[in-house]
Symmetry: C2
Subunit: 335 residues, 2 copies
């Protein structure tokens, strides 16, 4: 891959044009107060005249700061993560950092590659919702000096070590299940997430504990999905083979939507034929008359908390690790 000479105009050209040293140009660039107005004006004129733009790599090499923050999520197409990103942006935008986003597509191998690339001193801080199975890499990168804030996913091994903002997955899943069971159902179908994800594990544990505590006799069918729409759809199809279950629980928003779309297509009356519970909101076009129980996640608020931790960490690399556990309420949606 050839690369032609780009960025022909450097700080040196500007210095020459303005008749000053490169040090002075640099000072103007960095808004140092110790430059006379006269020189500042001349330098600025030359910059404009020559169309000069600083070179981020050179600056980063010298300062050890990239002024970029990396955000690595498992599925950038999932509105949940999109809102987390927005929340981070809300907080970070005023600072002059750019956000680098990448998606692992729930693939630990892909995630590992991305982490390693980002760790080549490309970012000042990494926000990570891990697909799982990468604890060693994450620790290695962190020990080497890259600040990391975990979000949504928190593998046990990393719990005390890193900053994190997570939901009370166990508690919310427990409550959701309880609410659904309270409707007096005899059979329950559950669509779990991929057990590589810490959230999926915790939610599964919450569901099981609630069943154990509240309705140990209920007949349970389980399906292990991958947190994507299609797996929810496939799960519903599978469940329907044995007739419509009295209740269905989907452990994330996308799988819930997949399941709903299949159930609706089959003419299932949600809220009447079947009690539906979803971990995460299903904010889409639904049949009027539908009732759904759901965990009301607040990803934007989560994102804002993450943003604050990032700021704090940037200011104080030595600060103690903080773990925010945000409680998410269970709500009922009646349309």
């Amino acid at each position: 891959m050839a690369k032609k000479e780009r960025n022909n105009v450097t700080i040196k050209d500007v210095a020459e044009d303005a008749g000053v040293s490169t040090a002075t140009v640099s000072r103007v660039l960095n808004k140092s107060p110790f430059v006379t107005d006269d020189l500042r004006k001349r330098v600025k004129a030359s910059i404009a005249k020559l169309g000069y733009r600083p070179n981020a790599a050179a600056r980063a090499l010298k300062t050890k700061e990239t002024r970029a923050i990396g955000i690595l999520v498992p599925d950038i197409a999932n509105p949940y993560f999109m809102h987390i990103i927005k929340g981070i942006e809300d907080v970070i935008a005023p600072l002059e950092y750019s956000l680098l986003m990448a998606s692992s597509d729930e693939d630990p191998m892909k995630e590992q590659k991305l982490i390693n690339v980002l760790a080549e001193d490309r970012i000042d801080c990494l926000v990570l919702a891990t697909a799982g199975s990468n604890e060693e890499v994450i620790e290695a990168v962190h020990e080497r000096g890259l600040p990391i804030v975990l979000v949504d996913r928190l593998p046990e091994e990393l719990a005390e070590e890193l900053d994190a903002v997570v939901e009370d997955n166990y508690g919310a899943a427990y409550e959701l299940t309880q609410r659904v069971l309270e409707q007096g159902v005899h059979s329950l179908a559950v669509i779990h997430g991929p057990q590589t994800a810490s959230t999926a594990q915790e939610r599964a544990a919450g569901v099981r504990a609630a069943i154990q505590d509240k309705a140990p006799g209920v007949s349970v069918t389980e399906y292990y999905g991958d947190f994507y729409f299609d797996s929810g759809l496939r799960a519903a199809r599978r469940f329907l083979k044995k007739g419509c279950p009295e209740a269905l629980l989907a452990m994330n928003n996308l799988m819930a939507m997949g399941a709903l779309s299949e159930l609706l297509k089959r003419g299932c009356k949600i809220g009447t034929d079947l009690v539906f519970g979803s971990y995460g909101a299903v904010d889409t076009l639904l049949l009027p008359g539908t009732t759904i129980y759901y965990v009301n996640q607040s990803p934007r608020a989560l994102g804002a908390s993450v943003g604050k931790l990032v700021k704090r960490r940037l200011n104080d690399p030595e600060a103690e690790a903080v773990c925010d556990v945000v409680k998410q309420p269970v709500l009922v949606q009646r349309l």
Copy 2:
């Protein structure tokens, strides 16, 4: 913002540890064939032992290649752009480039800032779906040597100059409108996109031409939205004040969903009470019995074309600009 010493271990440390020169370490890193197996082994051992990672900034400074590609879209939360990004990834992933994504939120000012940051030699190529009003900045950055591939949005001023992959917005909007008008409606409500976006302009022109040609007598009500869900919802609300129109046309997917959600809530029977047309698929949970006319966009294929243009451009910075115009068919969705 303090920055502690990171990346303590450099190529020099590795060289020392392995008892070779930094040049040799660099050669091993870059898989140069001209290193004896013995040295290669020693170097690799030292790299592993010391946990060395190359510094991207230093490499970029020297080689003028960042091995990163920037993708700047107006709304990263819109599934349409997400799929374009996936399409690009499909093609680019095998090359060893990382993708930097950013979102302008349809805000030209924000876009301008982001372009300028990315243009500080942070990326080797920019994929841009512009919010509009930034033609001068885009040209400046391009002239300075940053390869750019436009996607979806193509402002007239940039048409011949830059690589681009776009839809035939005019044609598809024309056909969509025609199909809806053929249902024999007397009144038509249209939700346009923001006129800063080239796509919104072209689609509006297509709609108007079709009306002119096919049903000049139809009563038309127009609303100018911003391509987001809420504006579609507001538009529908506005239209409904004067009673349900016989036909409604939404000029992108999100506004279509917003409008639909409001119409459904109000008990409007889509496909019966009202002919619904959408520029873009509404791939969500709908009432069975609903009929919708829509332009079937193929963003993932668009993305793949973009990826190919990026590759080509990376290989040959001097290549002539290419403009792919992809025709998108109008389909009917019956549920």
